[in-house]
């Protein structure tokens, strides 16, 4: 028992020293290190491990000087402490093996601790490894903060486990309930604050746009002024990094395709100088970014012609604006007359769509012929925490991001149809949507074979909808996303995993992936709005 505990103590001691190296003034860490050495001293004294006792005694003296502020925690100090940790680890191991000889020269090691002359000589400034203070602000490596975010996320999960266990006990006595509630509140607050550490104003992203617009306008022979609004809108650092590319593409697109040449504008009765506006705001738990121009607007007919030429639709198909405009996000789809240096090669918009999707966001288009186009991006506030709807499918719990759910309905038999090739559809107020039975996708046994016993969850991405059949709707909760691929291979239809309040693992349904695969089916055309019937019971 002693050796297990002693080895633990040494390990914690070492971890404490490493921590102290980064936070030299952290009193609590210093106290903890001291306590570890102290406990070890007491134990080894009791059990007559004299060498350990002697060494820890010297170590304790050294730590006492640090605690009293007699010595500052400098790099020289942490170096000594780490050397002490090594010596201690060896001593403990040797005691465990009842080794007759020792690799540690006790006098030398103790002398090393006692001689503080070199510390006094060394600069009193703490080692500034990756933290630098600057007028009350602190620069910290992102990965450190990320680790914190991860930990807090896991803490939140553990907390909800506790809460759920307590709830399961049934009515418990007041103090316990109260303590759990209080802890819950604190964890939430902690989580918010830690997330907040990673938040940066979107200004950092916007800052590069003026130069970009200037250069693009110059190259394209346009006169353009850029307006930005909402620069102070705060976004998670990860989000801000990922939106740089999509945003750049959209602004390029606006200048290059949206804004007309000055003469053309004049002929249309518009100001020769075009206007591009980029704005950001936060609303209902999401970040919204809009890129609008007052240019010519999307050319419906041209997009349509291109889609027909590309075999995406038949010439006779009737498409709404939404479906039609969605084509511009397809790889290789371009309506530009000339292939410019920067856009018009059909690359760009598909990358935009893909990046936004990867972020768990969505993109929408508003356009008016001759008046301009607005691209509207909706992004989650953070990429780590997901507002989730839990669903039961067979015996498993699955999760769909709340952001992508349009509505949930109990299906009537008359809304369900099977088309040719076994493709099923669900009719939502006249709109025919592909229906995916999740249990079938994940090879699970449903609670009931009757679809009418289940619930249909309508999910949407970029204006495209799919109906998912599940057994039951469960609670909504915040979950921490973990990538599946680090643990498993990539599984079709799943985006990641999380741990729920009760400790069970829930898998996150990959909504964009499902939409893409339903799109990719050869019989997709059968579901196009032009063929809205297909009554096969």
């Amino acid at each position: 028992m002693f050796f297990v505990e002693a080895a633990d103590l040494v390990r914690h001691f070492e971890q404490g020293v490493l921590r102290l190296e980064h936070e030299p003034t952290d009193r609590e860490t210093l106290d903890r290190i001291f306590r570890g050495a102290h406990t070890l001293k007491g134990l080894s004294g009791m059990l007559r491990y004299d060498r350990i006792a002697r060494f820890t005694h010297g170590l304790e003296d050294f730590l006492t000087r640090l605690r009293k502020g007699d010595l500052a925690v400098t790099a020289a100090v942490t170096d000594k402490l780490l050397a002490a940790a090594d010596a201690l680890g060896t001593l403990v191991r040797e005691a465990g093996e009842a080794s007759p000889t020792s690799a540690v020269d006790l006098d030398e090691s103790l002398g090393m601790l006692a001689d503080v002359a070199d510390i006094r000589r060394a600069s009193p400034a703490p080692r500034a490894s990756d933290a630098a203070t600057d007028g009350g602000t602190l620069r910290v490596a992102t990965e450190k903060v990320d680790r914190l975010v991860d930990l807090v996320g896991e803490l939140a999960v553990s907390q909800s486990m506790v809460a759920e266990l307590v709830a399961r006990i049934g009515p418990v006595h007041g103090p316990l309930q109260e303590a759990v509630t209080r802890m819950d509140r604190r964890v939430r607050e902690l989580q918010e604050r830690v997330m907040n550490v990673r938040v940066v104003p979107i200004q950092h992203v916007f800052a590069r746009l003026p130069r970009l617009v200037r250069d693009l306008a110059h190259a394209a022979g346009r006169h353009v002024v850029l307006h930005t609004r909402g620069e102070t809108t705060e976004v998670d650092k990860s989000v801000s990094e990922y939106i740089v590319d999509p945003l750049t593409h959209l602004v390029r697109n606006a200048v290059d395709h949206g804004i007309e040449a000055p003469d053309e504008r004049e002929r249309a009765g518009k100001d020769r100088v075009g206007r591009v506006e980029v704005s950001a705001y936060q609303q209902s738990g999401n970040i919204h970014i809009e890129v609008s121009d007052d240019g010519r607007g999307l050319d419906r007919d041209r997009i349509r012609a291109q889609a027909v030429a590309g075999g995406l639709i038949a010439a006779t198909d009737v498409l709404g604006d939404r479906e039609l405009f969605a084509f511009i996000f397809r790889p290789g789809f371009s309506t530009a007359d000339r292939v410019s240096e920067i856009s018009g090669r059909g690359v760009g918009m598909d990358i935009v769509a893909r990046n936004i999707e990867a972020l768990g966001g969505s993109i929408g288009i508003r356009t008016e012929r001759g008046r301009g186009t607005t691209f509207h991006l909706t992004l989650p506030l953070t990429l780590v925490i997901l507002e989730a709807q839990c669903l039961r499918v067979g015996g498993g719990v699955y999760i769909v991001p709340l952001l992508s759910i349009v509505e949930c309905v109990r299906p009537r038999a008359s809304d369900l149809h099977v088309l040719l090739h076994g493709v099923e559809t669900f009719t939502l107020r006249g709109e025919v949507l592909p229906l995916i039975r999740l249990h079938r996708l994940f090879s699970l046994e449903p609670s009931s074979r009757e679809a009418t016993d289940g619930v249909v969850v309508i999910v949407e991405r970029d204006g495209e909808k799919v109906a998912l059949l599940v057994d039951e709707l469960l609670a909504q909760q915040q979950v921490v996303i973990r990538s599946l691929e680090t643990n498993y291979r990539k599984i079709e239809g799943l985006a990641g995993a999380t741990i729920l309040g009760d400790g069970s693992v829930a898998l996150i349904v990959d909504v964009p992936g499902l939409l893409a695969s339903s799109r990719a089916r050869p019989d997709r055309r059968a579901m196009a709005p032009s063929t809205t019937t297909g009554g096969n019971p």
Binding site: M1, F2, R32, H38, M46
Partner: protein, 126 residues
């Protein structure tokens, strides 16, 4: 009926050492691994004597003594603090907080039983 003793000590090895020393003396022993846990169970355990380590994370032994002394039922229950010879200061603070006495580490099992026996004898006539 032998006396019941509550040990409050964060080190499992030390707990085991104290427990075996006390059980050898015929005492009944309960354990807590920290002061908060001790406060939670002390009413239920209703010990005749408490032995608390001074150096513990969260709440230290001295604070534990101070808090226990605010419970009417534990105003006069003897509490021994466990400390090292080097910390005279801890003994003083322990006394001030209301500890009955102290045991210095390292201790000898027989010596521990002597101290415990003495304290309980003094306490008994009351």
């Amino acid at each position: 009926m032998s006396a019941r003793i509550l040990i409050v000590e964060d080190s499992p090895t030390m707990r085991m050492l104290i427990r075996s020393a006390l059980e050898e003396g015929g005492y009944r022993v309960a354990e807590s691994e920290d002061a908060l846990q001790a406060l939670a169970v002390v009413q239920e355990v209703a010990p005749d004597l408490v032995i608390a380590d001074v150096n513990m994370p969260e709440l230290d032994g001295i604070s534990l003594v101070r808090r226990m002394r605010t419970f009417p039922a534990f105003r006069s229950v003897p509490i021994l603090i466990l400390t090292t010879e080097s910390s005279d200061e801890a003994k003083q603070r322990g006394r001030a907080a209301g500890a009955t006495g102290w045991i210095t580490k390292p201790f000898d099992p027989a010596q521990l039983r002597d101290v415990v026996g003495d304290v309980l004898r003094v306490q008994a006539p009351q």
